[in-house]
Subunit: 489 residues, 2 copies
């Protein structure tokens, strides 16, 4: 089978054949969360997008080293290198040590990504754990004259970089335009130009997260960590860099500039960006009152939600859109996704019950080919899902006797579901333990009623049969003056 | 209620009243895993021991900062500062980047601790993430003349430390004896004395995990990380330091010496050590063929095990022994623990069914007092569990009509179980989803049989009732030529 994989490269604005730097190996870096708040949709979408990439590359036989960082220091409130560190601020408000905030929200992030069945990356480095690597990179840039110290902080000299390299190749922004749009911002006088970005920030006296350096006691700039950690674990040039579209500028642009100035080669071969999410057509934001955490989605505990949505509903919904399309979360669309997901999962049970025929009316091999074609076309999960629904249709028709499937067809269909739905899309049948309990309770209510009738009618055969069968599943019944009670032993 | 907590302090060899350094706050540091292999009983016991301490301190109202580290660099194969780094060796054998090994086994550790219902610590720092802090500490010790450089490595001068402070206060080892037992070991000539320990090791050319320092490109000694990280997150003197008894010497002894020499004060107020585990009376070891991972326990997939043991069975078994006693894992003892745990959990269901009486034959308040007394006596979990079994006896007797409980008694008993069994001991009823499925299948088999009989006897009332009740729990039945099939919608 032709399994040429095409990836849309933000750098070239077109789909390119994926050719890894080292045959059979793929290196991928994805910007992970800044851990100062509870996980939400803005975390779920990139995690699921690049989980699909990770899973499919592995399926194709690549040995993948997937690095996804945790930002636990240096991410300031404003992109203009101003404002408080997001984690330090949360720590101040909660009266905690910043690393307690980091631990709590990292754990929450892992918990919710696990519920979304997002695989763990191969390495999950933390910014605060790579100070030496970041300081070494800054020193190199200062020595090369592409970064300058100012009042204990160090900034990347964008204009100087732009003299020999081109700044803005990823986002398409042009330095002259950036310059024209410059406003004088308070406290920015440390910088030569407002578009210069911080590599190192001198810590204010009250700042807890601080480390010694040649320039000051301070902390690294946010953009720097990704360059330092991706270089350390994936090399000076690696295959794929992913992240949300909102990170393209300035974050990824800064990464390219830093790494190129430092290592004299482009850091990344394929840049991939997932598009943004909206809620009922609006950008998600705390001020808009539509900021919904994943926990609120799973519990249905936000006024904008008419019901709870399970992790798999959210995952399926995200995968039903192509990662480069905008995705709007609304109750109706989510309910439709829930139905679709249930239908898909149900077909995987129905297929177990189909009796094989000697002749066939279906062409499963062609369907499988279409599934691969969808994935090879820049991970087109909605097309893949449409093909899986064609498989669902075939299964249901065969179960109703309207199509004929051979034993070979059935086995191919099972493989199709397990490969594409479970292994690659990462969808899993959901078992709600509380639901299971409710079912058992409902069934036991019915059985005890039948038993009471049987005993009233002196139908000892039925009554004995019930006792026997209940004992087989370790349920014992006790007769009390208020009726029969039961327990699982 | 008098809730004076007494803790056995390894330092004084006696139980001491717990008086925290800062009122209402408790700081605790526990040595976590070196992440180069799958989690096993040697990980489970300290994790559960200090989970109990963490839970009880929180229950008493302390704001606890619990720091448990991950050792991801510097732990060599031999305590004599020789041999390969454990993680680097695993990485070499698996052809992985060391941090991939670290990530994989950290994730496995977290997964299995989660299944054992071990709470996450407040901060989980990694050794490799605190190079700067470790290097700063070494510099301080070198400047103070208590550490010396030798061939690019730096060693702690134990004899010099012993001139002004006493080395060996925790383990009771005497320097003169250590000196007498010294053998000349190959490659140890870098050290002035064989009992000196490494603070910094110069990296061999093939060593991947290396960082720059004033002495060499190298990596920190294992003992150092705990001193550096506990000081950073808990201060120069903190309340409780825990770990396995095997860490008392040289690891904890080295921590005390380093920190005291650096900060001129004792680092820890209360040292706590859990005792060791054995398997069928033998020390657990790979060479003895009795090295059993937690996964093997949970699956029963080791030749030494006659069956699988659930996470709660293992947790309950560990808590049934006091943490300072040796604990032997054998099949019979584990099966007894499983029965005991089931009995306890069952009583918590039985209590729901007891009809309150107007008079009482039980004294629950006294029982509660005994539970607190057990915990306050150095976390005596076996005595606590014995008291909970007295509560189980009362519940079962009341259910059988042999004791009388008022509504108030019943409410107190419920609180007793939820406080001591669930909240403090961290025991949880176990729901096996597969078991749940088996129960539903068994019940449905019975119901469809009854339905078939009813239909054969033209008993439409029963048949209708069954359809109705099944619909109420979303089960639909389909009649086929091979009999009725059912599915949950």
């Amino acid at each position: 089978m032709n399994n040429d994989l095409y990836i849309y490269n933000t750098l070239s604005r077109k789909k390119e054949l994926f050719v890894p730097i080292n045959p059979n190996h793929a290196g991928m870096y994805v910007c992970g969360p800044t851990v100062y708040g509870d996980p939400h949709l803005g975390h779920a979408r990139p995690a699921i997008t690049f989980d699909l990439v990770f899973r499919y590359l592995q399926h194709l036989g690549y040995k993948v080293r997937y690095v996804r960082n945790i930002t636990d220091v240096g991410h300031l409130e404003s992109d203009a290198d101003e404002g408080e560190d997001k984690i330090a601020k949360k720590a101040r408000l909660e009266e905690l040590e910043p690393m307690e905030v980091v631990q709590y929200f990292s754990d929450r992030y892992h918990e919710f990504m696990g519920r979304l069945n997002v695989l763990k990356p191969s390495i999950e480095p933390r910014a605060s754990g790579h100070l030496i690597e970041q300081i070494a990179m800054i020193s190199k840039l200062v020595e090369a004259g592409i970064a300058y110290e100012s009042n204990g902080s160090v900034y990347f000299d964008v204009e100087k970089y732009n003299q020999t390299k081109k700044y803005g190749i990823l986002s398409g922004r042009v330095l002259e335009d950036l310059l024209a749009n410059t406003r004088d911002l308070e406290g920015q006088d440390e910088k030569r130009n407002s578009f210069d970005f911080a590599l190192w920030k001198k810590a204010q006296p009250e700042h807890i997260m601080r480390w010694p350096s040649a320039w000051s006691e301070g902390f690294p700039g946010w953009h720097l960590e990704c360059s330092a950690m991706s270089t350390k674990y994936l090399g000076e040039t690696f295959d794929i860099h992913g992240g949300g579209m909102d990170l393209m500028f300035p974050h990824h642009e800064a990464e390219i500039a830093q790494s190129t100035a430092c290592n004299h080669k482009p850091p990344v071969k394929y840049w991939m960006h997932n598009n943004m999410i909206t809620i009922n057509g609006q950008k998600m934001g705390k001020s808009l009152g539509n900021f919904i955490t994943l926990e609120e989605f799973f519990k249905g505990s936000h006024p904008a939600l008419t019901q709870a949505y399970s992790p798999m509903t959210i995952r399926f919904f995200i995968l039903q859109a192509h990662y480069r399309s905008q995705l709007d979360f609304g109750n109706e669309a989510l309910q439709a996704a829930q139905k679709g997901f249930d239908k898909l999962m149900k077909a995987m049970l129905t297929i177990q019950k189909i009796a094989p025929q000697s002749t066939s009316t279906a062409d499963i091999a062609s369907l499988e080919k279409l599934c691969y074609e969808a994935l090879n076309d820049d991970f087109n999960s909605p097309i893949l899902i449409a093909n899986l629904f064609e498989a669902v249709r075939i299964v249901n028709s065969a179960y109703d006797g309207k199509e004929k499937l051979t034993a070979e067809d059935i086995s191919q269909l099972k493989k199709l579901f397990s490969t594409f739905a479970i292994e690659i899309l990462g969808l899993l049948p959901e078992v709600d333990p509380a639901e299971g309990g409710k079912v058992v309770e409902g069934l036991m209510k019915l059985i005890l009623e039948i038993r009471a009738n049987a005993r009233a009618n002196k139908d000892w055969a039925t009554s004995d049969r019930i006792r026997e069968e209940l004992a087989a599943v370790n349920i014992s019944v006790k007769d009390t003056k208020d009726g029969a009670t039961w327990s699982i032993d």
